[in-house]
Symmetry: C2
Subunit: 416 residues, 2 copies
């Protein structure tokens, strides 16, 4: 049976070509006032002015849900590290009490603690925990999220993380797209030998993840002390050869060349981009690589510098926003907060931020042809918010305004 | 009938003397694991280890609510501007698009727009709107909030704002404590003559607000271009003479002397404190004035400087945290986000932040003898969170972890 979501004060359709949005097009929200969305079989049948949608042949017998408020495409969160065994509460307490990162590391904290915890966790509780976390994303209006491995850093534990994503899909309606991030860091047993570890990843982990179809993407952390631009390009090309679409963590801590290295390998997105220069921006634009910005982590780390969204937009690079949800540098699952920090700290307009969190988020996952906009024929992934004006979603911050979440036509979260 | 909230993983009681907490005492949370809280008649009867509470004579026949998670005293938000007619979305859009504050002002934005909107709004919709906002506070675990006037700046409109608070009390279970902030700014019709306007406030508004018992507190914005320290002390002393407890907005934009001026008048709290020096801190400590910090506004404004919580705590001043919820500089109603920003940007520990948001928040309103802690005999104002460790409330950010809110023993919010 069809469902008619109606009484919507403002609907942002982001209707238009099925393509990433760049420049001024990021401000074109496709706003419809007093709107309705008709869905059937998990697909959007019609979306637009209430009266027009009501005349659709399926509208007569549809179940009617009077939603009020604001309707958007469900958020597409293109960058998360949602699988981890434990929050890093001890690190957090040490940091607030004045400890340096070196002191936290010396106390067994940092990524090492996440690696130990993930290696020690069994698959089943890992998947169950992931599904519980997924519920928090859904209740904040996110309908699709990428999930990275990268806290195992061994064949078994990296595959376990990816299998947890696979298994969690049966436990949550949140759509999860897995990314192999075995090249996240060099695990302690390799004593800092990044080349040797990357050879191991390339020979052992990558082919198995590809053969078992456990990952859609391959990602690598290109940074001083981690993996070089040369290693990044070679690794991502090999991943692409095996059918995994390249992504890259680049220019997060310094300008090191990761963005260009990723673009050279055809990366679908280059993520963070805090320290990009003109040549990195040009490389992204020319390669069709989306810039996925993660400013909530800058907030959490107390940084004064934020990703240069304005320069990227001015140069015609499609910008996406994602949470970077992870236990070390960004314990935030709410895309609404990312809208806030993008507007208040990256000078993005509410319209640009909303586009970046939906349409361009979908394109950062290569799935903008099936979700990220409210267009007939696309997946019926919708998020509704208790507000009168869509700008309130970026203006009010620190809370959750989502009242209803719809995934493939089904109500998967409803605030009572 | 009594209610037994049980199965609590961690209960923070903040038990101890009924007094503001300063220095190391701010880290004493009174943590009880596997705990229960028994309430009857709106009052806490017992709180502590589950087994011990279960032996209480009233526990046998009590309604049992298995909550799990974390239990805290409900947040006491000691500084809000929760009455306003419209969110300042146009200002927000202009700011993100690069407009300066002067340009926003020239376009009719800033506080002037809030004044116009409040003057034009009728009492009844104002009260109804306030009650709807109150629901958002409740769902985030806040059980008591102060509410300031200050967007009317005329006799009628200031009293209307305070009457809206009075009337909203019948529409929401959130406990609201009204503050007269007629001395917020100089309204346009006084052409910048602060002295003349303050004389008018003192002669016309203050006595009427006091006579009708519309406000518990009187507050004033002491800052260059607003009201001087001398005016602040004199005004607050007159307010105190009429039965309104003094509060002060001070040292927000510069070091100007407002904190000392407030302390000299016996202010219960001095709020903001971004630019306090040693002599201001000493004045607060000596006068028993609470420092109410509002760091969420610093986040929203994109400032690099945050209130110096560590210095205040080191010098023995009790620190409270509040949202500063308002349409211009802090559209945030969630005290959980304030915990986050206090820990990540003010170097407060999670324990200090939680104390500042509960016990010391209550003392910033002079009501720490009846709420702000989970102690037998106090109001049964409780907030429950879906977490395993209380530190998660400050660690995860940008969302709402509150699962259940109890006001005077009654469940007033439950996440389904």
């Amino acid at each position: 049976m069809a469902t008619l979501f109606t009484g919507i004060k403002q609907l942002l359709t982001f209707a238009g070509d099925l393509s990433p949005r760049a420049g001024a097009a990021m401000r074109e929200t496709g706003l419809v006032k007093n709107a309705a969305v008709l869905v059937e079989g998990g697909v959007i049948e019609a979306a637009g002015p209430r009266a027009a949608v009501a005349r659709h042949r399926l509208a007569k017998k549809a179940r009617v849900v009077e939603t009020g408020g604001i309707c958007l495409p469900g958020f597409v969160d293109s960058h998360t590290h949602m699988v981890f065994a434990e929050p890093r509460l001890k690190d957090f307490s040490m940091r607030t009490a004045g400890a340096t990162y070196q002191q936290i590391k010396a106390a067994g904290g940092g990524i090492i603690s996440s690696i130990g915890a993930v290696r020690g966790q069994a698959l089943k509780p890992m998947a169950a925990q992931l599904a519980r976390r997924a519920a928090r994303f859904l209740e904040c209006g996110t309908t699709t999220a990428e999930v990275k491995s990268g806290y195992g850093l061994s064949l078994d534990s990296e595959l376990k993380m990816l299998r947890a994503v696979r298994d969690a899909k049966k436990l949550t309606p949140l759509e999860l797209l897995p990314t192999l991030l075995a090249a996240h860091s060099v695990p302690p047993e390799f004593n800092g030998d990044a080349r040797k570890y990357l050879d191991y990843v390339t020979a052992e982990i990558l082919p198995k993840a590809a053969a078992e179809k456990l990952a859609v993407f391959a990602d690598i952390f290109c940074e001083k002390g981690y993996f070089t631009p040369e290693q990044t390009t070679a690794y991502l090309k090999e991943a692409a050869r095996l059918g995994l679409r390249p992504k890259v963590h680049s220019e997060q801590l310094s300008n090191y060349g990761g963005t260009r290295a990723g673009a050279a390998a055809g990366a679908v997105s280059a993520d963070h981009a805090d320290h990009v220069y003109a040549e990195d921006i040009a490389a992204m634009r020319d390669a069709g690589t989306i810039a996925a910005l993660l400013p909530a982590s800058n907030y959490y780390l107390g940084l004064n510098k934020f990703p240069p969204a304005r320069e990227l937009i001015a140069e015609g690079v499609p910008v996406a926003l994602a949470t970077d949800f992870n236990p070390g540098t960004c314990p935030c699952w709410n895309m609404q907060f990312v809208l806030s920090v993008a507007c208040t700290h990256c000078a993005m307009t509410p319209e640009e931020a909303l586009c970046a969190a939906t349409v361009n988020g979908a394109w950062a996952l290569g799935i903008g042809d099936r979700c990220g906009a409210v267009i007939p024929g696309l997946q019926a992934d919708l998020a509704f918010f208790d507000a009168d004006d869509y700008r309130e979603l970026a203006y009010y911050f620190g809370g959750n305004q989502c009242s209803l979440t719809v995934k493939k036509g089904r109500i998967v979260h409803a605030k009572k």
